[in-house]
Point group: C2
C-alpha cells in the first residue's frame, strides 16, 4: 500500500500548490498594486513551472504502475483514476509542444487585447493561426488516432464528445431559434431598469444575496473585480463582483452566478479536501450550479418578487415598484452581439456558433483565415444581425487566443445539466416557489448539495447528473423550462 500512500501524499502537495496559484490569481485581479505586473508574471510562471514539473514527475507513473492490480475503495479509486487520466494526458504531449503552447498563448493574450482594441482581425491572424496549429497538434497527440477535438474537450468535460454535443445542439437550436423569433415578434415589451443605483448599496445587496444563496463567509470573501470570478476550493473559496451605477442587475446576477460556483466548492465533502476529487466534477457541472443559482432560482418569478421588495427598500423610486415589471426587466430578451451579456434564450445560440467553428478549426475543416467570414454569416443567420466590428464578433472572447478550444460547449452543457437538475428538484420540492418568494433558499440548496455538490469529483459528469435526476442528461427539461417561462413572460 506504500505506492498508494506515496501517490496520494504527492498529489496532496500538488493540490495545495495549485491552491496557492488560485490565491495568487485572486490577488492579481483584486488587490495587486498596478506596478507589480512584470514581477508577478515571473512569480506566476515560477509557480506554474513547479506545478508542471510535479504533474509530469516520473514517480507518478511508477506509483500508478504499482497500483494496477490493487483493489481500492471507491473514493480512492476515483482519485487514482483522475490522477492517472491527467498523467497519461501529460505524457502524451511532448515537452517541445507544451513549451510552444505556453509561450504562444501567453503572448497571444496581449496581442489579442491590442487587436480587439484596434478592430484588427488581419493583424491577429498569424498569431491565431499559430495557436490553432499548435492546438491541432496537441489534439492529435492526445487523441492517438481519434478525434482531436474530442481529445481537447476531454480536458474540460470528461466523457463528452464533439459528435454527441453536435447532435445535442442540433436538437436544441431549432426550438431556441423559434422561441427567440416568437419573443421578438410579440407585442409584449420589457424595459431595462433606468436611473442611478448607489454602488455601495449594490455591494451591500451582493453581500446579502451571497448569504441568501448559502455562501459560507467563514471560508470566503467578496471583493470587486473587472471580470467577476470565483477562486479556490475547500476552506478558501473567494468570490468577486462588479458594480455599474446604471445597471444593478449586472452586480446582482454576477454575484449569484459566482456564488453558485463557490458554494459548490464549499459543499464538497471535507474528506476530499486537497485530493484529486476535492473540487467540482467538470466545467459543465460547475456551470450547471452557477446557472441554476443565477437563472432557474435567481431569475424565477417567485424569487424576483422577493428581490423586487429588497430593491425598493434599497434603491427607493429607482426600482420598479411592480414585481411583475421587475421580473420582466430581469428576464428581458434582447438580441445582442456579446455572449457574456446574453439572456437565457440567446445564450446557447452564441455557444453553438463557437462550438461549430472551433470544432471545424481543430478538425482541419476550416482555417483561421476563414473564421471571420464564417462567424459573421452564422451570426446573421441565427441572430438576424450583421456584425460590423470584430470586437462584437470573432475577436470578442479571450478563449481562442489563449488556446481554450473545447471549453465553450461546457457553458451550454452546464445549462442543459441545470435544466435537468431543476426539473428533478421541482419534482422533489413542490413548495419551492413559496420558499423563493420569501427569499428562503434552504431547501433547494440542501437538494443541490446532497444531489451534486458534496460528491466533488467522485463521479464522472454524466453519471453524476444521472444519479441526481434519475435519468441521463438531455436537452428536454431546459427547453421545456425556457418555453414555459418566456411563453408566460411574453404572452406567447
Amino acid at each position: 500500500m506504500s505506492a498508494l500512500a506515496d501517490l496520494l501524499a504527492f498529489q496532496r502537495e500538488t493540490e495545495a500548490l495549485a491552491q496557492v496559484a488560485e490565491r495568487l490569481g485572486w490577488d492579481q485581479e483584486t488587490v495587486m498594486p498596478r506596478g507589480a505586473y512584470a514581477q508577478r508574471g515571473e512569480e506566476t510562471a515560477a509557480l506554474e513551472g513547479v506545478l508542471h514539473a510535479r504533474r509530469t514527475d516520473p514517480r507518478i507513473g511508477e506509483w500508478l504502475a504499482a497500483l494496477d492490480t490493487v483493489r481500492l475503495a471507491p473514493a480512492e479509486a476515483a482519485q487514482v483514476q483522475r490522477i492517472r487520466r491527467a498523467h497519461e494526458r501529460q505524457m502524451r504531449v511532448p515537452l517541445r509542444l507544451a513549451t510552444a503552447l505556453a509561450r504562444t498563448t501567453s503572448m497571444a493574450q496581449g496581442l489579442w487585447a491590442d487587436a480587439r482594441a484596434r478592430e484588427d482581425v488581419a493583424g491577429f491572424l498569424p498569431t491565431l493561426s499559430e495557436v490553432v496549429a499548435l492546438k491541432r497538434e496537441e489534439g492529435q497527440a492526445l487523441a492517438g488516432g481519434g478525434d482531436p477535438y474530442d481529445a481537447l474537450m476531454e480536458d474540460y468535460e470528461p466523457g463528452a464528445t464533439g459528435e454527441e454535443t453536435a447532435a445535442l445542439f442540433g436538437r436544441m437550436r431549432p426550438r431556441l431559434v423559434a422561441l427567440r423569433e416568437a419573443i421578438l415578434a410579440s407585442d409584449r415589451g420589457a424595459s431595462a431598469l433606468s436611473g442611478r443605483f448607489d454602488e455601495a448599496a449594490q455591494m451591500a445587496l451582493a453581500t446579502e444575496l451571497a448569504g441568501v444563496f448559502g455562501y459560507d463567509w467563514g471560508r470566503g470573501r467578496l471583493d470587486k473585480a473587472v471580470h467577476p470570478f470565483s477562486s479556490g476550493s475547500g476552506q478558501d473559496v473567494r468570490i468577486t463582483t462588479r458594480t455599474d451605477p446604471a445597471d444593478p442587475l449586472n452586480c446582482i446576477y454576477s454575484t449569484i452566478h459566482e456564488t453558485g460556483h463557490a458554494v459548490y466548492e464549499q459543499a464538497v465533502d471535507p474528506a476530499y479536501l486537497l485530493t484529486a476529487i476535492g473540487h467540482g466534477a467538470s466545467m459543465g457541472v460547475h456551470e450547471s450550479q452557477s446557472r441554476i443559482f443565477e437563472n432557474q432560482l435567481g431569475r424565477s418569478s417567485a424569487f424576483t418578487r422577493w428581490l423586487s421588495g429588497r430593491m425598493v427598500e434599497l434603491f427607493g423610486e429607482n426600482a420598479p415598484s411592480d414585481p411583475a415589471e421587475f421580473d420582466r426587466a430581469v428576464n428581458r430578451v434582447h438580441p445582442g452581439f456579446i455572449r457574456t451579456e446574453a439572456d437565457e434564450v440567446h445564450y446557447n445560440l452564441h455557444i453553438m456558433l463557437r462550438f461549430d467553428l472551433e470544432r471545424a478549426l481543430i478538425r482541419g475543416e476550416m482555417e483561421a483565415a476563414d473564421l471571420e467570414e464564417a462567424w459573421n454569416a452564422r451570426f446573421a443567420r441565427d441572430f438576424g444581425q450583421q456584425v460590423t466590428r470584430p470586437s462584437q464578433g470573432v475577436l470578442q472572447d479571450v478563449h481562442w487566443p489563449v488556446g481554450l478550444f473545447g471549453y465553450f460547449p461546457t457553458y451550454a452543457l452546464g445549462n442543459v445539466y441545470a435544466g435537468c437538475l431543476h426539473s428533478a428538484m421541482r419534482r422533489d420540492l413542490p413548495q419551492l416557489d413559496g420558499d423563493l418568494a420569501r427569499g428562503d433558499l434552504a431547501a433547494p440548496l440542501h437538494w443541490l448539495k446532497e444531489a451534486v455538490q458534496r460528491h466533488g469529483g467522485l463521479y464522472e459528469p454524466r453519471d453524476l447528473i444521472a444519479r441526481a435526476t434519475g435519468e441521463p442528461p438531455s436537452e428536454g427539461p431546459l427547453l421545456d423550462y425556457l418555453e414555459a417561462k418566456f411563453g408566460r413572460l411574453y404572452d406567447l
Copy 2:
C-alpha cells in the same frame, strides 16, 4: 559562462517563489477567511517544501564549483557569494535536524501562545528545552568547531559576532541606564494623549504619512493587521498598520516604521530585481531604515511640529494644540515590561537582556529551566521593576519558541546603524530640520536611497554603513543623539 547563467536563472525562479510565499503570508494576516487556517497550513508547507528543495538542490553545488575560477563583475560576484553562503549553510544542516527544527518550532508557536495566555512557564519548558537543544545542535553544525551563537547570528546579520556585539552592548548599557535614571528622576513629566481618535481618520493619516515618507503606492498598498509588518520586495511591497481609538501614536509610528522597511525594498536598484541581492542587506540594516524613519526623522521635534498641526486638523480638540506638548507625548519615556511598546531610551536595554540570555543558552552556559529566574533578576536590575507575570517577562516574545536565536541583537544593531546614518545625514543636510518642520522628507529620503537603499544586498552590512557614513559603525552617534534629545526634552 553557462554555469553562471544556469545558476542565476535558477536563483531567479527561487526568488520569484519566495515572493509568492511573501504574498501568501500577507494574505494570511490581512484578507484570509478565518476558516481557512488548516488548509492554509498545508498550502504554506507545500510551498516551503518547494523552496527548501530548491535551496538544497545539488545542482547549485555543481554550478558553484564550475564558477570557482571565473572572474565576475561586482554585482554578479556578490550574487554568487550570497548564493554560495546560503548553500554552504544549507549543506551543513543534516536533513534530520532541519526536519526536526521545522516540526518542533511550528508546534512550539501554538504551545507558546497557549502557555502565555495561561501564564504557564513550567508547562512550556519541555518544548522550549527541545527548541534550545535543536538550535544548539544547528549552531554547532553551522559553526564547524566555532561559536554556535555566532553561527546562528550569521543568518540575520552576516559578519556580526557575539563577542563584538557583547562588547558594543557593554559600552552602551551604562550610558543608557544613566540616561534612563536621569529622566525618571527629573521633574519634567510628559503625558500620553487622551481622548478618542477616529479610526478612519487614523487610516487616512497613515496613508498620508506613508506618502510623506516616500512610499510608492504604484508598487504597494496599506491594509490593517493585528501585528503590523511589511512584506515583499521589488515591485510588490505591502505595508500594514493597526488602529486603536485611544492611541493614535501607535498607528502613526507603526506606519512610519513599516514604511521605512518598505521604502528600502522599493528603492533597491531595479537591476537587482529577483536576484540574491534584490533586497535589504541584513536584518540590522533593514531595521536601521525603519528606525531612522520612525525615530530620528519621525520623532524629531521638527517633524512632530508639522505632525502636530495635522493632528489638530484631523482630530480637533483631542490633539494637543501645543506642538511642544505633542513632541513630549510622542517621546514620552516610560518604563514598561513589553519590548514592542518601549521608547527609544528603554528599547535597547530590552534587547541586551535577551541577547545575553539567548547567547548563554546557545553556548550551553545556561539551561532553559533557569531562564525565567535569570530574566526576572536582570529585568529588576536594568529596569527597577519586578516581573510578576510571565506574559510580561520570559514568555512575551515569539522569537525563541519559533527558533529565532541570534535575531534579537539585530534590532539594537539597527538602532546603532540608524544613529550612524543620522549623524552623517545631519552633516550633509544642514537644512534638515527646516524640511522636517514642513513635512518635506525629499532630502533625507534621497540621502538614504543613495547611501544605503539602492544598493540592496550588494555590500556586507558593516561595509555598507561604513561606505554611507565614512567610518565603521559604532555606538557613539546613537548615544550622543539620545542624550542630546532627551536631555532637551527632560531638562537634564
